[in-house]
């Protein structure tokens, strides 16, 4: 029984799973419901409307990286255990590796590629450079996306509160002390 289900969905998925259809193609398909095993999702990424027809297994992290070409968001564990994949969905910081893209109908996603204002870096990005808040840079997108929200959180004030609020973002290079200083700088500017 299980096998037949898998074959059924599987074959449909084989047609175009994981492939981002170009906008006109989705437009053309929009009238028709997605073939069995695939889902259509319309959502915004960094202010741009995106329409994807995809295998429902595709996480937001994989959709961003593999289908939308936004590879700034990183996969450190794919299990919710490191924070490297942090993005904002409807203005909250979340883990894109545990978010199924199918659930994002009508939502707004912001990634590391979407926070600078053209060539002007976001103050948190600037502060990370000023304080050397990274080494290898692999956790950095996630740290910054988290930090942007922590800077906004008025209740997070002391060094220990910032450390706790940032503890869902692991940095194996150990840039923690500098990230703390960067967040303090950004918070000071934010007030």
């Amino acid at each position: 029984m299980t096998t037949s289900r898998r074959q059924f969905f599987g074959q449909a998925a084989a047609v175009s799973a994981g492939v981002a259809l170009s906008a006109p193609a989705v437009e053309a398909l929009a009238a028709e419901p997605a073939p069995a095993g695939l889902v259509d999702v319309v959502f915004e990424v960094n202010g741009e409307r995106q329409k994807l027809r995809l295998d429902p297994r595709v996480t937001l992290l994989d959709a961003l990286r593999e289908q939308l070409g936004l590879v700034g968001t990183k996969k450190g564990c794919d299990r919710g255990q490191c924070g490297a994949c942090t993005v904002h969905v409807d203005d909250r910081r979340v883990l894109s590796c545990l978010t199924l893209t199918a659930t994002l109908q009508g939502k707004e996603v912001t990634t590391i590629e979407g926070i600078a204002d053209g060539d002007d870096l976001h103050p948190v990005q600037r502060a990370f450079i000023d304080h050397d808040g990274f080494q290898c840079g692999f956790c950095t997108s996630g740290q910054i996306m988290s930090a942007v929200k922590v800077v906004e959180e008025r209740e997070v004030r002391t060094d220990d509160q910032i450390r706790e609020a940032m503890s869902g973002n692991i940095c194996r290079c150990g840039a923690y002390p500098n990230i703390l200083e960067a967040i303090k700088q950004a918070k000071a500017g934010d007030r």
């Binding site: 898998r6 969905f9 599987g10 924070g83 869902g168 692991i170």
Partner: protein, 325 residues
């Protein structure tokens, strides 16, 4: 992750209609998606319940009522929760990370699965995941495992923090199925592993947790949640204690205590509560009362320290809650 059929439900009725054997409700996904990637859970159909109206945090009829789809971070930050039952807020804020708390729902939290590493590794035997296959944790690496409420079939802990606070506060869960609603005390909602560790709770197939109902306890404003772990944050508990104490003129009038990280389910410490009542609120009383917390404990090769640690966690939590310093 095996292929599945995805459906988003907009009404409770719709969700219940879609549900069937082999289906799974999807809330925040922080347990479900994780375990699907590991092939630990392999639902045929995933029903997105996030649009259901199981929301709201309110005081009603002498109880705090929390919708199952409220997010951990929203519950933790809610002014009513913070003033009526601060222990709930504290337990949530010591859980997971800011990002996970923004995603995860209260219902999902209560339904989260154990963090036993053997359970999470499908190449390993595990009675909870594959009934009858054996329990490698009994003789394997078991430092994080339970010492209370375990069986020869399974020694895993229940990993939720907020459930510990709820159990201390006599919370109930409202369960909704096509047959209507039923209410169960959370403590009884969870089952001990016995010989069927795969059956973790009394939820029927296709049944939803709709709401958590926590009776208001005026003195529970003096409450705390203490979580002990190796890492300062972003880790599950080695031991944890939810404590609320009512101290008048230095004497314990009433007390609620439950422990996490040590037992097969959120563990109410009734014997300790009884031993404390009428006692002088000082460390020695707390320490003497805490002795009974580990009655019947079954330590394993690597987690024997949890019995001593639990007792000390209780003492420390009581000192905090009683404001004894």
């Amino acid at each position: 992750m095996h292929a599945f059929d995805y459906a988003a439900a907009s009404t409770v009725r719709g969700a219940l209609d879609l549900a069937g054997p082999g289906s799974a409700f999807l809330a925040g996904g922080t347990t479900l998606v994780d375990l699907m990637k590991l092939d630990v859970l392999t639902p045929d159909r995933v029903i997105d319940v996030n649009a259901l109206p199981l929301k709201g945090i309110r005081l009603h009829d002498g109880a705090l009522r929390i919708g199952a789809l409220e997010r951990m971070s929203d519950v933790a930050a809610h002014p009513v929760v913070r003033s009526v039952h601060p222990v709930i807020s504290k337990a949530l804020l010591l859980s997971a990370s800011g990002q996970v708390r923004n995603m995860a729902s209260i219902g999902g939290n209560l339904m989260q699965r154990t963090r036993c590493d053997y359970f999470r590794d499908v190449t390993s035997a595990c009675n909870k995941r594959r009934p009858g296959s054996g329990c490698p944790a009994l003789t394997g690496v078991n430092r994080n495992h339970a010492v209370l409420g375990t069986s020869d079939s399974c020694v895993a802990t229940h990993a939720s923090d907020v459930a510990v606070a709820f159990v201390a506060l006599d919370a109930q869960v409202v369960l909704r199925s096509k047959d209507g609603d039923r209410v169960a005390p959370l403590e009884e909602f969870y089952r001990l592993p016995g010989s069927t560790p795969d059956r973790e709770n009394v939820l029927g197939p296709g049944e939803l947790i709709a709401e958590v109902v926590v009776p208001v306890l005026p003195w529970a404003r003096h409450s705390t949640y203490l979580k002990i772990r190796d890492r300062q944050s972003y880790e599950f508990a080695l031991t944890s204690v939810a404590a609320a104490v009512d101290v008048k003129r230095g004497v314990v009038q009433d007390v609620r205590l439950a422990a996490g990280g040590v037992a097969a389910k959120p563990w109410r410490l009734r014997a300790v509560e009884e031993a404390l009542k009428g006692g002088v609120a000082i460390e020695r009383t707390f320490a003497e009362a805490a002795e009974s917390a580990v009655d019947g404990a079954r330590p394993l090769a690597h987690n024997a320290f949890k019995t001593a640690l639990l007792k000390r966690t209780i003492v420390r939590a009581l000192l905090d809650a009683a404001g004894a310093r």
